[in-house]
Amino acid sequence: MIDFCGIELRHRVINASGCFDVIAARRVFGEELYERFPFAAYVSKTITLKAREGNPPPRLWEAAAGMINSIGLPNRGLAAYLEGDLPALAELPVPLITNVMGSTAEEVGALVAALQDREQVVAIELNVSCPNVATGLDIGADPAGLEALLRAVRPLSRKPLVVKLTPNTADVAACAAGAEAGGADAVSLINTLRAFARSPDGSGPWLGGGSGGLSGPAIRTVALAQVSRVAARVSIPIVGMGGVASGRDAGDLIDAGATIVAIGTECFRDPAAGARIAAELELRFPQIAR
C-alpha cells in the first residue's frame, strides 16, 4: 500500500481533477467501472460555492500532442455537491478527494469548512488557479499570498489539504514552499498552461471562453521540470501530473520526486488509461509501484 498524507492507496495512479466524471462514467460503463476501477483514489472536478454554468462552446481545441480546454469549471455548486454527488459516490471503491476553488480566503474557507465533517471526503484539493479579482493573476501565482491563504483555511479542517499549484508563475517552487509554510499537507502539479487558439477561418478567437489551458503530452516535459524544482524545495508529498500517457511517464515523475501521479487528458483517449498506466508502472518499477 502507498501512504499519501495518511491515506492508504492501492497504487500510485489517480485521476486529474476535471478529467474523469465517475457519476457519468458509471451511467456509461455500468458496474464494470467499479469492478475494474482504474484509479487508486478519485479526485472530483473543481467545486465552487455557487453553481457555475461554465464557458460557452466551443470549449475544446486540438493542439500538437495535446489539447486546449476552456471548460470554465462548470459545477452545480457546493450544496448540490454535498446533497447530490456525495450520495451518488457512496459506493466509490476508492478514497474520494474533493477539489474546490474560491476567489477569496473566505470562499475557500467556507468550502473547506463545509467538507470538514464529511467522512466520505478523505482529503481536499485546493485549486488556486483562480484569477485574483484585483490583479487578474492566479491567486496561487504569488508565494506570499498563497501562504496567507493556507494560514487562513488550514485551521478550518483536519483533513489533508492538497494545493493544486498554478504552473503559470515565475517560480513554482517558491509557491510550493509558500503552501508548505502555510500548512499544506501536499501539493499537486501541473495544472494546464495558459494557451490560445484562433479560428481556422481567421474569424478570431476559437474558444468560447477566449483563452484556455493546454494539456497532454505537449506539456509533459514542463511538468517534469516543475515537479523536479518543487521536489527540491519542499518536503511534503507531491502529486505529479501533466501529459502522463504511459508507465514510463509516470515513473519519470516519481523519479523526479512525485509520490503519486495523476492522469488527465490520456483518460479522454482511453477511459481505462489509469489502469493501463498503473500496470505499466508496476512492470517498470515493481519496487515503487505499490
Partner: protein, 249 residues
C-alpha cells in the same frame, strides 16, 4: 445498455465507398449498439504526427448499422485530418475504439419522418432498418446523394438539383408536415436542425434531433461537448446526442 469499459483494438472487417462517403465495418461482439449512439474511433497507426500534427484525440462517429452478428458499420466523410485518416484505413488495419456512447433514438411512433442531411443520414439508416419510416434526405449534389441508396425508398433533395428535388430537404419536410403533421427524427448540419427545431416548435410536433459537437472523450469526462438547453449547458455525449427539439435553446 452500458458500454464495455476502456478502449479496444480491433481490425477493419470491411471497407467500401459509396459516392462521396466511405463505409467501414468492425466486429464488436461486446456491445449491442442502438441507432443514434456513437463510438470514439482512432486509427492505431498514423494518428497525427509528422507534417500534419493532428489528430490527437479520437473522433466521434455514429453507428450507421449494427447487425445481430456483431458487425458495426460507420459512414465517413473526409472533412479533416481525423476522418481523412479513418477513410484511408483498409480491411485488416487496426482501429482503436471505445463505446457505444450516447442515448440513441427511442423507438419512433409509426410514420415518424426520418430527415437526414449529408453525413447526418448515418444514424437514421439504423432507425429505418430497425423500425421503418419514410426517409427524406438532403445532399450537396448527386455524388453525395448516392448515400441515399442505402435507404428504403428515400425521397431526395440536392442543393444543386443534380438529383431529386432542387432545394433543401426542409422543403420536402414542410410539404409532408403540411399534409400530415407528425413526429420527426433528424440529423444533419446545424442549419438543418435549427430549421426543423423551429418548425417543430411552431407546429407543436415531437422532433428528436441527433446533434454533433467537438468531443474529447465521449463519456462525460471532459465537459467539452456541451450544447445550450432549457436547463443550461448539457453534454452531447452523455445527455445526447439525441435531444428533443423543444429542449434546445
Amino acid at each position: 445498455m452500458t458500454a464495455p469499459f476502456g478502449r479496444r483494438t480491433t481490425a477493419l472487417v470491411g471497407r467500401r465507398t459509396i459516392g462521396a462517403y466511405v463505409i467501414i465495418a468492425v466486429r464488436d461482439d461486446a456491445a449491442r449498439p442502438q441507432p443514434g449512439q456513437f463510438y470514439m474511433l482512432a486509427a492505431a497507426e498514423r494518428w497525427g504526427g509528422g507534417e500534419g500534427e493532428r489528430p490527437f484525440l479520437a473522433r466521434a462517429v455514429s453507428i450507421m448499422r449494427a447487425s445481430d452478428d456483431g458487425v458495426v458499420e460507420f459512414l465517413l466523410e473526409d472533412v479533416g485530418p481525423g476522418t481523412r485518416r479513418l477513410c484511408e484505413l483498409q480491411q485488416g488495419d487496426q482501429l482503436l475504439l471505445s463505446g457505444p456512447f450516447g442515448n440513441g433514438f427511442e423507438q419512433p411512433q409509426a410514420g415518424t419522418l426520418l430527415v437526414g442531411g449529408g453525413i447526418g443520414i448515418a444514424p437514421l439508416l439504423g432507425v429505418q432498418e430497425r423500425w421503418g419510416g419514410p426517409a427524406l434526405l438532403g445532399f450537396r449534389d448527386a455524388h453525395h446523394a448516392q448515400g441515399a441508396t442505402l435507404f428504403g425508398d428515400p425521397e431526395v433533395a440536392t442543393d444543386d438539383g443534380s438529383q431529386g428535388h432542387h432545394g433543401f430537404v426542409t422543403d420536402l419536410l414542410e410539404r409532408e408536415l403540411d399534409r400530415d403533421p407528425r413526429a420527426v427524427y433528424a440529423c444533419g448540419p446545424p442549419a438543418l436542425l435549427e430549421a426543423i427545431g423551429a418548425s417543430a416548435r411552431r407546429r407543436g410536433i415531437h422532433a428528436a434531433l441527433a446533434l454533433e459537437a467537438p468531443m474529447a472523450c465521449g463519456f462525460g469526462a471532459c465537459y467539452g461537448c456541451v450544447v445550450a438547453t432549457a436547463e443550461g449547458f448539457r453534454r452531447v455525449c452523455v445527455d445526447g446526442p439525441v435531444f428533443e427539439a423543444a429542449a434546445l435553446r
